[in-house]
Symmetry: C2
Subunit: 429 residues, 2 copies
Amino acid sequence: MSNTPLRLGLAGLGTVGVGVVKILQRHGAMLEARCGRPVRISAVSARSRARDRGVDLSAYAWEDDPVALARREDVDVLVEMIGGEDGPAKAAAVAALSAGKHVVTANKAMLARHGQELAELAEAAGAALRFEAAVAGGIPVVKALTEGLAANRVERVMGVMNGTCNYILTQMERTGADYAEVLAEAQRLGYAEADPAFDVGGVDAAHKLALLAAAAFGTRVDFEGVAIEGIERISLADIRAARDMGYRIKLLGVARMTEDGLEQRMTPCLVPAASALGQLDGVTNAVVLEGDFVGQTVFEGPGAGEGPTASAIMADVMDIAAGVRRPVFGAPAARLTAAPRAMDATPAAFYLRLTLADAPGVLAKIAFALGEEGVSIHRMRQYDHEGAAAPVLIVTHPARRVDIDAAMGRIGAMDESLATPVALRIEKV
Amino acid sequence: MSNTPLRLGLAGLGTVGVGVVKILQRHGAMLEARCGRPVRISAVSARSRARDRGVDLSAYAWEDDPVALARREDVDVLVEMIGGEDGPAKAAAVAALSAGKHVVTANKAMLARHGQELAELAEAAGAALRFEAAVAGGIPVVKALTEGLAANRVERVMGVMNGTCNYILTQMERTGADYAEVLAEAQRLGYAEADPAFDVGGVDAAHKLALLAAAAFGTRVDFEGVAIEGIERISLADIRAARDMGYRIKLLGVARMTEDGLEQRMTPCLVPAASALGQLDGVTNAVVLEGDFVGQTVFEGPGAGEGPTASAIMADVMDIAAGVRRPVFGAPAARLTAAPRAMDATPAAFYLRLTLADAPGVLAKIAFALGEEGVSIHRMRQYDHEGAAAPVLIVTHPARRVDIDAAMGRIGAMDESLATPVALRIEKV
């Protein structure tokens, strides 16, 4: 192996960029022993040169423009930590790949939108494009999927991949505070963005799921094909009722290849409280990978933050330094297929929470409406009345989402229904 | 990348060997797309040629002698699935590496004893020697450690890595049967060897820990340096008492680099019932890897069996096919250091179970003996008497093993002590 240093250009010096600098400054000799050649930073780029970031950047050249950074003669690898699906991040990535340079990125939004284009560009140029840090932070799950389980036909990929959502759901359960209170606290602590839609609306986690699905099934990244629902409408009542019946509510991503096509969902689901996903608390991420030979494997760890994300970026850099060249999404980009979308192709049991007037015959009406839509009841619980409203919880036998929605529409329209009915999928884990 | 097929010689056609044949027969085209070249079996070797293994072997040449298999012109990779730390397994591995051929092995015993020698041989010959299947079956944990977390200084490696032991402990708790009964059932079901010492005595799991420790800390494999204790003396009373206090008992491997040297233990420990390790049931394995940047990551999955083990072997084969050449234990073999052994260097809380005569002043005597040995009490519980014997449970403050052992010796020698005192470490997870 060549002893020539691998030279990095770091674009973006926020939390993650600073983490990468710290790893290289602290562990330079160890990294060299492990990947067989030195790894060095040539140049860096960020919006503000003046800002004190707590690390010494004086040894590195400075570029105001990340595209210029990507094109520097002394940069072999562009480490893109700018973020944003277009703009300077994409411009720099395209500039680097077009010049035959490698790109390591933490940018899930960019890859969810432009993954196919960038992968084709990289493979045509013989350059590496790697994104371990874009999915589940410090957990090496892209590597596990595309290399560790590469001999398997993957059957399902699942994950709790947004720490903010999991923190909010965990805190609601723990403290009994409602969604709005906990969200405000999360924002105060810096866990949630001021505009929370990206996190709690499920978009951020859906980006990650779309990338995992492409690598799992050999399909083109199809972010538009992910059915997304956030956690905004999850109430404390649902969290407690789910717990009562042995479940916990998680914002769960599921991707599965079905006979009808690729099913991708990022939605609040109930999972058994005793399962690895059900036991997940706080900001920890977990990804479940299921293959035809290996069976079920589970990977847990910190899904965000300076150290974990920088650790994932540097693992990609070290693979490049060691000469590893693999297709971006596990199989060559030209061979990735555009799978048809199969939204909710897999029937599942559903949890239903109905708020009903305490009137004679109302349960019979509900049962009749469900039955007419082809939904059968597995378990039912009625709780103590809160005034005139009787909360009724139902767990159905496996049903199609479309039938559940039809039944919910009918029930919601009844005079006896005092609040919008809630229906959440129960995912088998 | 070359389009030349990578040609395998399979040595050993037991469960795992048959799994490897199945993967190649079922997923040949997918594997080729993923690693850029065909992977084929040239020849196989096993003890009995006549045995029906349920797979068609007619397309492959047969060798009676695995060393002859390793030396065949049409074999690029020896896949060693014979087992045993010496004998034909090692002879074949040495023959292959000496001829510059790659070796993929599931043989933890061989590597635990001869890992340094074989790694040096492989690296001198420019050949790969890979062992993902030797540790934690289908979980790609060697890859996670040596590649996914390669940018971290590893602080601790822990794992529940023997499915038989975990099955026995889980079944004892679930059914209330004692150790001997559950072991007999496990043997009947084929989970445990007829001579169980290898499994339940902790040797098998200690082999795995020694390999992980070498990869984690850049040290030479030091199996002799692992403090080993099996689960034979764990009683139902301990399992229940631990549960009562919020813990579960696991055969837990822990490796840690301390100021005094490398600490390696494979012993029954208490872990919090609510932790990922505490929640592990049955034959599932789990490995915890902690790094200075990534923090704590947890990897769970099937630790043995045809499909999982074959999946791990084929991941190694596919890396070789894709041209990946990394040092065997993460860093070059010549640079691995012989770390001094630091047995139980890290103090811990201990769980003590004493069986005492119900006599006045006995608890005072116990407390005095513990205090004199420098062990202080954090929690104590006394249970209902069983006849004249009063079971007393103690959780200590962090103490050194040597002080605990001294105190247990003193207490065991007292007239009031009606059974050998039990002391189990409580590992922080």
